[in-house]
Every structure is written in structure tokens, then in C-alpha cells.
Amino acid sequence: MSMQLVTGNHAAGHAFGLAGEANRTARGAVCGIYPITPQTEIVEYVAKFSFSKGAVVPVESEHSAMGVCLGAAMNGARSFTASSSNGLAYMAENVMVASFYRLPIVMAVVNRTLGPPWNIWADQGDSLMFRDFAWIQLYCETSQDVADTSLLAFRLAEDPRIMLPVMVCMDGFIISHTSMEVELAEQEQVDRFLPPCNVPHKLDFDQPKTMGGMTFPQETVAHRHELQEAMGRVPAVFEEHRERFRDVFDRDLAGAVEAYYCEDADTIFVTSGSISTTMRDVIDKRRERGDDKVGMVAIKMFRPFPVDRIRELCAGAKKVGVLDRNCSADRGGIFWQEIRAAMQGGGHPLIQGYLTGVGGCDVIPKTVHEVVDDLLGRSEAGEPVWKGV
């Protein structure tokens, strides 16, 4: 297998195409498509595929693109789409339907700042607005990560123990439009990796039934409880499928949480997306100098939030700094909030939030060095520190 120069968008589109084709022995593939910057290339890539069984359906809005996926998934088709920013905001009503109907739809999200004012650059605020929608959310760091995670997403979503939709997220332009070295999968490998999609509650001629009828609170609370239970199973099932991925593709796939120099670190930085790459480089520089015992926890899996693993990795740290490319007005960075909630209990480290790259501001090594210096010099936590204002 050869290496290619591939953007994040290309990687997602390629994975979706192969995953869709791999379901030809079952009920095929359906992709509802509608363009929006910076994800348009993904759906354009998918539109190049002629699926042996299935269809690419161009529609008039994001709301309808997800609607197409819902209808197709109810029939057991492997269903996927992609969107960004305000497109997701408009799609929101149907996004919720996907998880509440337990349909294993996979959606690539190219993270872009929500408007107005209009801005096409990276900010995670778009996908993070769905954090309470019972979707699995995976944030990728490189094009290779997008290619691999997109394939794993189908396996995870369609696992009978899970049956939840998955968002595969990447920073707009920084990952979506940057060419990186990628080992792309072959159809034959994907055929082996992905079993035929089987939605247990799909349309069945012998048992016609209605989905989504009116329910009373007692039934609804049971439904929400099931969603909570399914989410709880995700980290272990993710690891199982990661093993299987290794078997088929002969390479590892970035984990739900990646630790970097955490063993002896007294100061740990929590990152996600492309900022993890920059932080890794900055940690290397600091470690080369030898004076700062800094480490990193790079989070891929935001929903479910891998609390146990994060607590374990940060157990020995005195200070934790969280870098957020998003801001929940009033509460600051959303990863920061989650980390503080995860670390609650006696004796937790000092936890400081940093708002880096909000609205698409560049997070360059200098920015990250400033964050590192700030945390190293701190004796107590304070309000989130804004970078770029």
C-alpha cells in the first residue's frame, strides 16, 4: 500500500465511499448531500462514487441531507453525510432524530465558526452544540486520523451494543484542506473490516411498525436510560474495534485519549484536534531543554467523555491546563468544563482554562509556548485566559 498526499476532506470522502460500497452485500449505501464551506469537498468526493447498491442524493438543505440519511438508515442502508457550522445548526432537529431513533449514521463535521458575523475558519462550537444529543463525537488530529477514524466510526456506530450515530470532526482548513501523508484503505480491506450493516429495527416486510410515536414519560425515561447505557459501553467497544482495525490494516489508529509524556509530568496540557500536533512539538522542545516536566493528554473522544482514562493519566499532575478552540459564553472552554467535572473530588490538580484559536485564530507554537509558560508560572487557577483578543 502506498502513501499519498491527502487532505482531511479527501480522507473522509474516500473512507465514506469505501464504507458505503462495502455494504453492497446488505442494504447498500445512501448519502444525503448539500454543500457548505469547508466540507463541500467531502460530499463532492462521495458523489464521484458509483455505488453498486445505493445512491448519493443531492438535496436543498442540510436539514434534508440528514433527513435522507434517516430514511435510508431506517431501511438498513449504511448512511452518511457531512456538514459544518450553520449548516449543522439548521440540521439540528434531524441530528437529534438520528440518535433518538438509534440509527448508526456517520457524519463528518468540518469544524467551522458559527455565524453571524460570517467566518469560515476553525472553531469547534458547531459540533459541540450537539454534546447533549447522544451522538458519539470523535475529534481528529491529522488526515490519517480522519481516514482511519471515519472507517472505525461505522464499525462503532453499527455495533449492536451501541447503535448510535457518530460525528467525525476535524478543524476546518487546518485539517480539512491541508495535504498530509496518508495511507489510504483499499476496498478489499474495508470489506473485511466492516461487516454488513444490520440495523435491528430496520423496515421489515413481515413486521411493519411505526417508529417515533407518542410516548409517555415512563417510556421516555426508559429510552433516555438506554441511550445513557449505550454511551457507557462505547469506550470498551471502541478499543475492541481498534484491535480489529490493527488486524486488518496492520497499523494502529489513534486512541480515544492519547497520552504524551504523562508518566513523569507534573504539568499536563489537555488538547484536541490540530492543537494536539502543535502541543506535541512544543512539549518536545521543552523536554529537549530538560527543565520542564510537561506532558499532554490529547482527546479524540469527547462523547462519551473518557473520564476514567483522563483521571488516571492526570493522577500524578500538580497542574492541568486545558486548551479550547471553542467558547461557551459565560462558562468558557467546553473541554475545560468537562475536565473540571471529570476531575472533581478531593486532591485534584490546579486546572486552568485557555481559550486558544476561538473564531479560527491561529494557534502557532508561540501561542502554545505562552500557554505553557503561563501555567508553569501559576500558583492558583483563575478565569480562562484568552489568546488572540
Binding site: 454543500p35 464551506t37 463541500t40 463532492e44 458523489a47 464521484k48 436543498e60 438543505s61 442540510e62 453571524p116
Partner: protein
């Protein structure tokens, strides 16, 4: 503050902002900007009495290029927002502008209901039969066999909308089609549209030089409607049906009371609250 009447008359350029449009050279939308500003100057509308509401897309950038109240809204929702503004400020001249994607695709539902509601505003759709801002995908006015979009490489296979016919069916009370190759003619249409009391729909044929260069040939095919405007819907429908979409001018205009929310007898919240007294 000087009263509007005391000020020197404004010229078309006074309605343009200092922001340079990001449109491609040769884009028809330049001529729409020119026609709108000419119409406003002709009507001597004070700038502070005009609002320009737009959605998303190349053409929707026009709000920033005018020097009137502007609101660059969300994709497809300009008409809903304009309805709120007109309800709050019936005295304003409300112009709504956008493209065929914004208005007929993602915003199609708002379009038909705005026609039906018949509030006093002017809606200009710059129609180039393509999504320009996302780099050339088929829109609801694109011919079914246009195969140069990466999203629909085999064509859409779907019949296009006829925007004027759609407006007629949905209840618009002024319907016209203009061409950006004739900005003066378009400005005249816009003057009539703005003066019309009710919902005015103007389809401006506006070529996209970048993604639909063949539209530069439109100038060879565009001509005026052979007949004057009619107020008879069935007649307008017949003419639109027989037309190839390249005839310009006012097609249909009728008198029907413009809808303005509010008015009537004020309610009595006290009486309502009394029902809950214990």
C-alpha cells in the same frame, strides 16, 4: 439633524458603500447593485428609510455594498427576518436580496409563504442557476442535464423551478424579470417593484461568469415581453408557460391589500388575567 427635504438629492453612488465587492469580474451582480442604487436615487428614498436584508451566498454579500440599513442574515431566512422588520417599522422601504440557491433551495419555504403573506417589500433574486459561493453546484433553477457540477456529475435529473411561475402560484402581487445586461431596464423594474404596495418579486437574470460562462450568451436571447403586464393570473400563467425564461419586464401586477400585522382593537390583558384570579 437636517430634515430629509433640506438635504441635496442623493445620487446612485451615494447608496453604495466603500466596501469593494468580492464578486468575480464580469459577475452580473454588479449590475444589480447598480440598478438598486439607481432606483433608490430615482425614488429619492432617504438612506435611513431603506433596509436591505440578505441571506447567504455571493449575491447576498450585497447588504455590505449598500449604504442603507443592512442585515446579512442566515442562509435562506432573509424573508422571515424582513417580515419582522416590516412589522416593527412599516415606514421602511424593505428590500430583500439573494440568489437562486438561498431563496429557492434552502429558503424555498419562506419564499412561497412571503408571496402568500403579501407584505409590502421587494424581493430580488439574482438568478445564475448555480451555487457560486460553494464553487459551482446545481441550484433549483439549473437545467436537469447540466453536468458540470462535482455534486451532480451526471446532471441533476430534476426539472428546474420557474421562479416567476412559483411566485404567481404562491400569491405574489407584483412579478417581474430583469436582466443584468440591461441595468437601466432593471432599475426601472425595481422602481415599479418598490412603488408597488405588496410583495414584489423580481427575478434578475444575473450570469455567473466563473461557473456558468455560457450564460454570457444570455444577452443574445433576452428580449422584452411582447405584452404589457397583466393583472389576470391565468393570463400571466399562460404567458410564463409559453416563455423560455428569457423574456423580461413586468409580467403581473395586481391590487390586493398588503398585509401588515397588528392594528385592530387592542386586547385587554386585564380581562385575561381576571380569569386566573383566586
Amino acid at each position: 439633524m437636517a430634515l430629509a427635504a433640506d438635504r441635496p438629492p442623493l445620487k446612485a453612488r451615494d447608496y453604495k458603500s466603500d466596501i469593494k465587492p468580492v464578486w468575480c469580474p464580469g459577475c452580473g451582480d454588479f449590475a444589480v447593485l447598480s440598478a438598486i442604487t439607481k432606483a433608490l436615487a430615482f425614488l429619492e428614498r432617504p438612506r435611513e428609510e431603506v433596509a436591505m436584508i440578505t441571506g447567504i451566498g455571493c449575491s447576498s454579500r450585497i447588504a455590505a455594498y449598500t449604504r442603507v440599513y443592512g442585515f446579512h442574515g442566515v442562509h435562506g431566512r432573509a424573508l422571515a427576518l424582513a417580515g419582522g422588520l416590516k412589522a416593527a417599522r412599516p415606514d421602511l422601504t424593505v428590500l430583500v436580496a439573494g440568489g437562486d440557491g438561498d431563496g429557492l433551495s434552502i429558503g424555498g419555504n419562506h419564499f412561497i409563504h412571503a408571496c402568500r403573506r403579501n407584505m409590502d417589500m421587494t424581493y430580488i433574486v439574482m438568478d445564475n442557476e448555480v451555487y457560486g459561493m460553494t464553487k459551482g453546484q446545481a441550484s433549483p433553477t439549473t437545467d436537469a442535464d447540466w453536468d458540470r457540477s462535482k455534486l451532480t456529475p451526471r446532471g441533476t435529473g430534476i426539472r428546474p423551478f420557474n421562479p416567476a411561475a412559483l411566485a404567481l402560484t404562491a400569491g405574489a402581487t407584483f412579478i417581474a424579470r430583469g436582466f443584468t445586461g440591461d441595468p437601466n431596464g432593471l432599475a426601472k423594474i425595481l422602481v415599479s417593484a418598490i412603488e408597488h404596495r405588496g410583495f414584489s418579486f423580481v427575478q434578475a437574470l444575473s450570469p455567473c461568469k466563473t461557473f456558468r460562462p455560457e450564460q454570457m450568451e444570455w444577452k443574445k436571447h433576452v428580449r422584452g415581453f411582447a405584452q404589457p403586464p397583466t393583472h389576470i393570473g391565468a393570463l400571466a400563467a399562460e404567458r410564463l408557460h409559453a416563455d423560455d425564461g428569457m423574456s423580461t419586464g413586468v409580467i403581473y401586477q395586481t391590487d390586493y391589500p398588503a398585509f401588515q400585522p397588528g392594528g385592530g382593537e387592542p386586547g385587554d390583558p386585564g380581562q385575561f388575567e381576571a380569569e386566573f384570579r383566586i
